[in-house]
Point group: C2
Chain length 602, copies 2
C-alpha cells in the first residue's frame, strides 16, 4: 500500500507534476499545474515544503503546503512504514530527552476486554507494521517544550522551519511562542511532522476532525481521511475516535501524518470504563494521557474548566451541554458530587505534558450549542477558569491554546474573542465555527464558515472545521473535503482582512488569470482546481474553451471582462495609452461641466 | 403541464401535506411535515401565505413562505395558464390606470431577424398560451407607484399584505416606503405576485438570478429554475436571459412567478443591435423598457451611473469592469465619446417607470471584480452618481434601490454600506455578495455568503445570490438551490444579528427539537429538509433511528445531548428539581471555597 495506489487521492496523482515535468511553456493545453518545491533553511535537513503553481505566462506562485511528502513524487511513501522522522535528529541533538521502555500496550487500549493468546486485538493485520520505536520523554523532569526553549531565547529548528513557512523572522516566531501568543505543537514522539505555528500574528490555521464512532468507520478510512484532509489544506487533524481500535487507529494516523495530531484523551478513557462516566478516575485518565503522549499526540483537549459549580448554570439552557467531553465531566462531577478530577489534578497533568511537549487545547466543555445559549453565564464562567488554567500551564512551560464556541449569532461573536484574549493573556483562540444560525442542518459548514471568517479576522488563530454532516452523522470523504475547503476560505478571507503580508498575492494572481482568460491558471490557482475545472467543463468541455474569452455563464457577447479588454485594446495599444486617451476624454467632459443634472433637493 | 407533474419538484409534492392531513398526532414515523396556510387580512382576497411546520410535540411553527400557490394542493396551477392575478382587483379599484393596446410584439424582441409568415418565432409552441391581457399604465401620466401612495398617506392592499407577512404594522410599511428606505416592487402588469418588501427594517431578502445565455438553456428550464428558486426561498428572481427568445422566456416566467421579477433591459437592447454596443441608442433602449414594463417586470437594473468620466478610473484596475451592463455602457461612451444615454435620459426614464410602478435597481456598473479593486475611486465615484439619481427618481415617485458589490475583503465591507446609506439617503442596498476572497472558484457561494451575511447585518436589504458556478458557467438546477440556501442562511444570520423580532423563534424551535431528539421535527424545520434527512439516513436509515437519542456522528455513548438529558433526568424529575439539586451542590461547593487553585502570578 503505497501513495501510488488507493491511498493517494486521484487528484493528487494527476496534478502533482514532478520537477522533471518543469513549468509549462505557455502553450494552450500544455499546462502542468503545480509541483512540490522546498525552501532551504540554514541546514540541509531543514527544507520547508511549498506548492509551486506554474502559470502559462511563465510566472509562478508559491503557496503554503500542508499535504506532506505524499505530493512529492521523489519521496517514496508507504503507509505501512510511515513517514520519515524529519525532526528526530533535532530532538536528539537537544540532549534533553531520553528513550525509555514506555507503557505496555494493553488490549483495553483498543477497547478489547478479553485478551486472546495473541494480545487481544480483533484484527491483528491492523497493528501498525512500521519499525517499532521506543517512546521518548524529558530527562530529569525538565520541560522540553518549545515554550521553554523560546523563553530562554533559543530558536529551535522547528521555529526556523515555521519562520520560513510563514515568511517572518525566526525571532518573531520565538517571541510569539515565548509570550504565549502562539503555540508550535510538536510532541517529541511525533518526529514525522512538518512544524507549523498557531497564533494570531501568523496565517489563520484550520483543523479537520476525523475519527471513527461506535457506529461506523474503519482504521483505513481514518488514515485516508487524514491524508485527504491535509491534501486540501488542513493544518492539524484531530483524531476523535470513540469506537474500537482507538489506540491502533491513532498509531496509523500518527505515523503517517505530516501535521500535528490532536485528541481528546477523555474519549478513550471513557471507553476503558465501558462508557460509564461515573467510573472514570484520575488514574485511568492519566494512564491514557501517557499512552497517547508516548504515541506522539501533539495536542490534547482537556475539559478541565467544567467545574462542579458551573453545571447548574446550564440547567436553563435550550441545549444543555453540547461538548462530548463537557457532558462527560459534568456527569462525573454530579455523580460524585465532587470537583472535576481534571481541575484538581491540573498541575500533575502539566508535568506530564511538559515532559513530551504536548500542547494543551483547553476545551470549552460548556460552549453554547444553540443561538439561544450563546455568551451565557455558564460559557463565560468556564472561560474565566480557562484563563486561570492557562496561567498554571505557563508555570510548567506547557504550550496552551483555548477552545471557543460553538453557536453564536454574528453580533455576539466579537465579545467572544475579545474576552478570551483578555482573560487568557492572548493565548491562541481555537474556535469551532461559530455557527451563526441553527436552522440549516446539512449546511453547517456554511452557517459556521460565516462565523469562522469573522472571528478569525478579529484574532482567532485556528478554526476547527465543521462539515455538512454536523449534527447529522459521521462525515465521509466528500464531507471532509467540503469542510476543509470551506474553512480554508474562511481562514484566507481573514488573512486578507487582517492585512497579512503576502496574503493578497494569491487573490491577485488568480484575478489576473481571470482577466487574462488564462483558464488553466485560474483552475491551478484555485483552492480546489478539480471542481473549478469540472464546473467550467460541464458546459464548455472542448479544449479551445480553455483559452476562450468567455464562459457559458454570460456567453461571448456579454462577457464583461472581454468587453473591458476590448475597450483597452481599441482605445490604445498599451494601458498607458488607454489611460491617456481616456483621460483626454475625461478632461473634455470635465471642461463641459462634468454633469448633466444639477443636484436637486428632494 | 400542471404542478402535479414535471413542473413541480419532487420534494414539493412529497412534503406539502394539505390541511386535510392535519398536524401529526406525535406518534413516531407519522410526522406530516408542513402545509401551506394563510393569514387572513382585512378583506377576503387578502390572504398571506405562510409555511406551517407541524411538530411531533403538537406545536407548530410559522415560517415566511415564498413558494407561491405551487405548494398549495387546493390551488390548481398550470404553467400554460399562469398564476391567478391576485392583485388585479386592487389595481383596478385604484382607478388610476387604464388598459391600452400596447406595443406590438416584434420578432426581434426574441432575437429573430427574418420574420416568418406566422410572426417569426422559431418555435411557436413556445409562445405563452395563457389568456392574452392588454397592458395597463397610469392615466394622465400620474405616478401609480407604491411610493406615491405612501407619500400621500395611503395604505394599499399591497402594504397591508407585506405588513402581515413581516408581522409589523401597516403604518411602519407605509412610512418606510414613503421615506425611500424600502421598496415594494409591484408592476401594475404583474398582478400575479404576492407582495413583498425590501428595506432594512424588514427581513433580509434574497434574489436568485436565472436566465439563458447564448450558449445554453431553454425556456422550460428557466421557468423551472424560477419555481425551484422560490420553492427554496428566493424572494425575487432576476431573468438575465441574453440569448434567443428573451421576450417569450420572460413572458412565461412572469405569468408563473409569485415573486417580483427583475431584469436588465440593456441585455435585450443589445441583442436587438446584434451585440454591437456602439449601435445602441436611447430609442432602442426606451422601446425595450416599455416592452418589458408592459409585460410586468417589477424592477429594472439601470446602469445610469457609468458616466464617461469614470471609465478612465478603471484603467489601472486588476479586473477592469466586471458588470455586463457596466462594460456595455463604458464601451458605448468611449465609442461615441459621449456621456451615457442612460444618464442623459434619466428623467424621461423615470416618467416611464412611474407609469407602471417599475422599481429602479440602480446598477453598480463599476463594482469591483477582485479583492484588489475593492472600494476604489471608480466604484465610489459611481456610487455618488447613484445617490444623485436616487434623488431624481424620488422626484418622479419612482421606487429605487441601489446595487452594491461585488468582491470586497471583510475589513472593507462596512465602508460600502455606510457610504451607500449616507450618499443614497438610506435607499435600500442590494448587494451581490460581496465575495471576501478571489481564490475559490466553484465555492463562490461560500466566499460571498460570508460577505453577504456581514453586509446584511450592517443594513443591506436584499442579497443577490451567487452560485457555485459563478465565474465558471451557467448555473443548473442544483446550483440554483445551493445558491438560494446559502443566501437564506446569510439573510437569516443577519436577521438574528439585527435582533429582528421573531427571527430567533425559528432557531429556538429547531434547537428544542434537536435537544429533544425529535429528528423529524429537526428535518421539517430545516432550511432544506430533504438534504438534512438524507444526510442523517446515510448512516442510520432505519425508522427507529428517527427517535434514537444519538446519530452516527458521535454514537450512543458519546452523545452530549443524551448525557445532558440523562443528567437532568437523574438529578431530578423536572428542570426545577434539577436546578434545585444542582444549586444545592453548588452552594456546598461555594461554601468550601469554590476553587482548588488560587490565582497564580505568571
Amino acid at each position: 500500500m503505497t501513495n501510488k495506489d488507493a491511498r493517494t487521492p486521484a487528484s493528487m496523482r494527476t496534478q502533482a507534476g514532478g520537477p522533471a515535468d518543469g513549468p509549462s511553456n505557455g502553450e494552450a493545453g500544455k499546462s502542468i499545474g503545480w509541483h512540490k518545491a522546498y525552501i532551504e533553511g540554514s541546514r540541509p535537513d531543514l527544507r520547508v515544503p511549498v506548492r509551486q503553481v506554474h502559470l502559462t505566462n511563465g510566472q509562478s506562485v508559491t503557496l503554503y503546503d500542508t499535504s506532506g511528502p505524499y505530493t512529492d513524487p521523489l519521496v517514496d511513501t508507504d503507509v505501512r512504514r510511515g513517514l520519515p522522522p524529519l525532526r528526530e535528529k533535532w530532538i536528539i541533538a537537544r540532549g534533553d530527552t531520553e528513550e525509555y521502555a514506555g507503557r505496555p500496550v494493553r488490549p483495553e487500549d483498543d477497547g478489547i476486554k478479553h485478551t486472546s493468546p495473541r494480545g487481544g486485538l480483533r484484527n491483528l493485520d491492523a497493528v501498525f507494521p512500521g519499525r517499532p520505536r521506543q517512546p521518548r520523554r524529558s530527562r530529569d523532569g525538565r520541560a522540553v517544550t518549545q515554550l521553554a526553549y523560546a523563553r530562554r531565547g533559543e530558536i529551535t529548528p522547528e521555529m526556523e522551519f515555521v519562520a520560513l513557512r510563514e515568511n517572518v523572522s525566526p525571532e518573531v516566531v520565538r517571541e510569539e511562542i515565548a509570550a504565549g501568543r502562539a503555540v508550535l505543537p510538536a510532541n517529541v514522539n511525533h518526529p514525522e511532522i512538518e512544524p507549523m505555528i498557531i497564533g494570531k500574528r501568523f496565517l489563520v490555521k484550520v483543523n479537520a476532525n476525523i475519527g471513527n464512532s461506535a457506529v461506523t468507520s474503519s482504521i483505513e478510512e481514518e488514515v485516508e481521511k487524514m491524508t485527504w484532509a491535509t491534501r486540501w489544506g488542513a493544518d492539524t487533524v484531530m483524531d476523535l475516535s470513540t469506537g474500537r481500535n482507538i489506540h491502533t487507529t491513532r498509531e496509523w494516523v500518527l505515523r503517517n501524518s505530516p501535521v500535528p495530531i490532536g485528541t481528546v484523551p477523555l474519549y478513550q478513557a471513557l471507553e476503558k470504563v465501558d462508557g460509564k462516566a461515573e467510573e472514570l478516575t484520575w488514574e485511568i485518565y492519566k494512564d491514557t494521557v501517557i499512552e497517547q503522549a508516548e504515541q506522539g499526540v501533539d495536542y490534547m483537549t482537556v475539559h478541565a474548566g467544567v467545574r462542579l459549580a458551573y453545571v447548574p448554570l446550564t440547567a436553563n439552557r435550550k441545549t444543555g451541554i453540547v461538548s462530548r467531553g463537557g457532558s462527560i465531566m459534568a456527569a462525573w462531577c454530579l455523580a460524585h458530587h465532587k470537583e472535576s478530577f481534571l481541575y484538581e489534578h491540573f498541575e500533575e497533568l502539566c508535568e506530564i505534558l511538559a515532559a513530551y511537549d504536548v500542547t494543551y487545547s483547553l476545551g470549552d466543555g460548556l460552549r453554547p450549542g444553540s443561538i439561544a445559549d450563546a455568551n451565557d453565564e455558564a460559557q463565560f464562567a468556564e472561560l474565566r477558569t480557562l484563563g486561570e488554567l492557562n496561567r498554571i500551564a505557563r508555570r510548567f512551560h506547557v504550550q496552551t491554546m483555548i477552545e471557543g464556541p460553538g453557536h453564536v449569532p454574528m453580533h455576539k461573536i466579537k465579545e467572544n474573542i475579545d474576552l478570551q484574549q483578555e482573560i487568557c493573556d492572548e493565548a491562541p483562540f481555537y474556535t469551532l465555527g461559530p455557527l451563526t444560525t441553527d436552522v440549516a442542518p446539512a449546511y453547517d459548514h456554511i452557517t459556521s464558515g460565516i462565523g469562522a471568517a469573522m472571528i478569525a479576522w478579529w484574532g482567532t488563530a485556528m478554526l476547527c472545521y465543521v462539515t455538512p454532516k454536523e449534527h447529522l452523522g459521521l462525515p465521509n470523504r466528500d464531507d471532509v473535503k467540503t469542510g476543509v475547503i470551506t474553512y480554508k476560505i474562511a481562514a484566507h478571507a481573514a488573512d486578507l482582512a487582517k492585512g497579512h503580508p503576502g496574503a493578497q498575492e494569491w487573490d491577485d494572481a488568480l484575478s489576473d488569470a481571470r482577466f487574462g482568460f488564462r483558464w488553466e491558471d485560474q483552475f491551478n490557482l484555485a483552492l480546489d482546481p478539480d471542481t473549478a475545472r469540472e464546473f467550467h467543463d460541464e458546459t464548455l468541455p472542448a479544449e479551445p474553451a480553455k483559452t476562450a474569452h468567455f464562459c457559458s455563464m454570460c456567453g461571448p457577447k456579454f462577457c464583461s471582462m472581454k468587453i473591458s479588454q476590448d475597450i483597452r485594446r481599441e482605445h490604445g495599444g498599451t494601458r498607458a495609452e488607454i489611460e491617456e486617451g481616456m483621460a483626454q476624454k475625461s478632461k473634455e467632459f470635465a471642461a463641459a461641466g462634468n454633469r448633466v443634472y444639477l443636484p436637486i433637493a428632494d
